[in-house]
């Protein structure tokens, strides 16, 4: 089953919609609650990343009986140094974003911790694509 959700840069109040919808689906599939929690945490982080840094983006998720794959594509500034962005505490978030309680530099590291596979591809000035995969067992 496929899902697609749009994300709007700067609109933090709407971030979390995709994770909430995906959560409901996974609950109905009786996926282990601990795994659901991890998927939701990673997806929410990813949503917030797009909203915080990019101009717009989309979430494409695909669920089957064994796994979920999530692809987040955005149009935005891109990540010049991906290994650096993967370090805990490193953040390029603006002051305004930090004041809202985001931008602690835990986004990508936290996502990596909570999914089975994570890949990040980015082109500076064009955008970023994040791919996450989690198996249900």
């Amino acid at each position: 089953m496929r899902f697609r959700y749009e994300l709007e840069g700067g609109n933090f109040s709407r971030a979390g919609y995709a994770s909430s919808e995906i959560k409901k689906t996974l609950k109905q599939l009786s996926v282990d609650p601990k795994i659901i929690k991890r998927i939701v945490v990673a997806l929410y982080e990813a949503e917030v990343n797009v909203v915080a840094h990019a101009w717009r983006g989309e979430v494409l998720a695909e669920v089957d009986a064994e796994k979920i794959t999530i692809r987040l594509k955005d149009e935005g500034p891109g990540i010049p140094d991906i290994p650096l962005a993967m370090q805990e505490g490193y953040s390029t978030a603006s002051e305004a974003v930090r004041e809202m309680g985001f931008g602690a530099g835990m986004g990508l590291p936290n996502m990596k911790k909570n999914v089975d596979e994570l890949t990040v591809e980015s082109q500076v000035g064009i955008g970023t694509e994040v791919y996450m995969l989690t198996r249900f067992s």
């Binding site: 909430s20 109905q28 009786s30 929410y44």
Partner: protein
């Protein structure tokens, strides 16, 4: 789907139910459907919050209770009365008048529900300190406990396994009476309940309170007490022994915020079931709820003062409870020297058994099958109008789609789909009419001047 062993207190009187959509659309777990012009409750999904009862315009939803005369089966007839009950009366009615009227009705003892609150609070704090998962959630409101079992099963382990005051006080007072020489057969403790969920929780198979022999709805007792008070001569002097007095903390425990302020760390009090659902949804998906240690969650607006079986306005009740509780003693009576044995007994029996998760699952079968069914729902949603009118007998379009996939409803139950099918010659007018009657009852579309709001209403 298999039915579980939840006991339910909410029942529908088919003679009174006029088949509208109010209860169905209000239900927070979407457990109500309309069939043959009558509401039906899906037992597995109902959490006994009472929202349907509150909204029913014809009082067709009621709470089954024990026959009042059953109190006379016992020598020792105890009314276990919550503070909310005195809050039903204005300040011009004294506690002594209310209590003497309860005695006059046949009770031999009156015991306050909140008497053991301080012990309950201590045990909650003890468990909270040892908890791995925060926030911990209070077990006070039984509708919330069920809501979590059904809709947020992941959170069952966050619920503190402490008996709520009603259960703790019943355990305690039963022991006191036994120590006074009564046999268990002689002791009849009857709980005066402000809500349906308490009844359901007390009567369930998992019911963790054997000490309570029966339940009396608060509105029933209110009517009886009020009747006694109204028929007393003007110069009547009420004379009776008052039940042990409560502290301010005890009296306010059942109010919104009554628990949360007594817990260390960050605590939040949230009332009204839709608010609670919204909060728990956020807690599950976003990281907005961080570093919260304790959650007091109540199903009713203004907590127990807003219970479905209360009579007075909830805001007035809450205010009266606040007023009646000022200038109270600081030391809980439970620690007074007498009844040390009962106190020790309660200490040993204050815990509740673990709470099992009972997730609301829409479909049976292996994951592949469920995915197929979910995909079917999405396909059906392409056609359904998305108006959520409820004319099909399901609370919204999505629920209808889910019902269709579960073979509990048909595509043609949707009135808009009927129009479409008629337009394309797939449904004749007579058949469409019968479909409406199947959901809303025979002759439902006939003129009826005696219905609610019509010109001969009540005649």
């Amino acid at each position: 789907m298999k039915e579980d062993n939840f006991y339910h207190a909410l029942e529908i009187d088919n003679d009174l139910c006029m088949g509208c959509t109010r209860c169905m659309t209000k239900c927070p777990t979407r457990a109500i459907r309309i069939k043959d012009g009558k509401a039906t409750i899906h037992k597995d999904w109902c959490v006994d919050c009472g929202e349907c009862l509150k909204t029913c315009p014809v009082h067709a939803i009621y709470v089954g209770q024990d026959d009042f005369q059953r109190i006379f089966d016992y020598t020792c007839r105890v009314a276990l009365v919550p503070t909310v009950f005195t809050g039903q009366f204005s300040k011009y009615t004294t506690e002594k008048e209310i209590m003497s009227a309860i005695y006059e009705l046949g009770f031999t003892h009156i015991f306050p529900v909140e008497f053991t609150t301080d012990m309950v609070c201590r045990e909650m704090i003890r468990q909270m300190e040892n908890a791995d998962e925060k926030p911990v959630i209070s077990s006070f409101c039984p509708a919330i406990v069920r809501l979590i079992q059904v809709r947020f099963p992941v959170l069952v382990d966050n619920i503190l396994l402490v008996k709520p005051p009603v259960n703790a006080s019943a355990t305690y007072y039963h022991k006191v009476l036994e120590d006074e020489g009564f046999t268990p057969d002689e002791i009849g403790i009857f709980y005066v309940t402000p809500c349906a969920a308490k009844i359901a929780a007390l009567k369930s198979e998992e019911g963790y309170e054997a000490a309570i022999r029966g339940v009396i709805n608060m509105d029933t007792l209110y009517n009886k007490v009020y009747h006694v008070l109204k028929n007393r001569p003007k110069d009547h002097k009420s004379d009776c022994e008052l039940p042990p007095s409560l502290t301010k903390k005890e009296m306010r425990w059942s109010q919104t915020g009554g628990e949360s302020k007594h817990f260390p760390g960050r605590s939040l009090a949230i009332d009204e079931i839709h608010n609670v659902i919204d909060f728990l949804e956020r807690m599950e998906t976003t990281d907005e709820v961080r570093n919260v240690d304790f959650l007091e969650l109540r199903a009713c607006s203004r907590s127990c003062a807003g219970g479905v079986l209360t009579v007075a306005n909830r805001f007035l009740t809450a205010e009266r409870m606040m007023k009646r509780s000022v200038n109270r003693d600081k030391v809980p009576m439970i620690y007074a020297a007498e009844n040390i044995d009962a106190l020790a007994y309660l200490k040993q029996h204050i815990m509740m058994p673990p709470i099992p998760p009972k997730p609301k699952l829409l479909y049976d079968g292996p994951r592949e099958e469920i995915l197929k069914k979910m995909e079917q729902v999405r396909n059906l949603m392409c056609y359904l109008p998305g108006i959520d009118c409820g004319a099909c007998g399901s609370p919204n379009c999505r629920s209808l789609a889910e019902d269709i996939v579960r073979h509990e409803a048909q595509f043609s139950d949707c009135v808009f789909m009927q129009r479409n099918m008629e337009k394309h010659g797939k449904l004749d007018k007579e058949h469409a009419f019968r479909l409406i009657e199947k959901t809303w009852g025979k002759d439902r579309l006939n003129k009826d001047c005696y219905k609610k709001g019509a010109k001969y209403e009540g005649q």
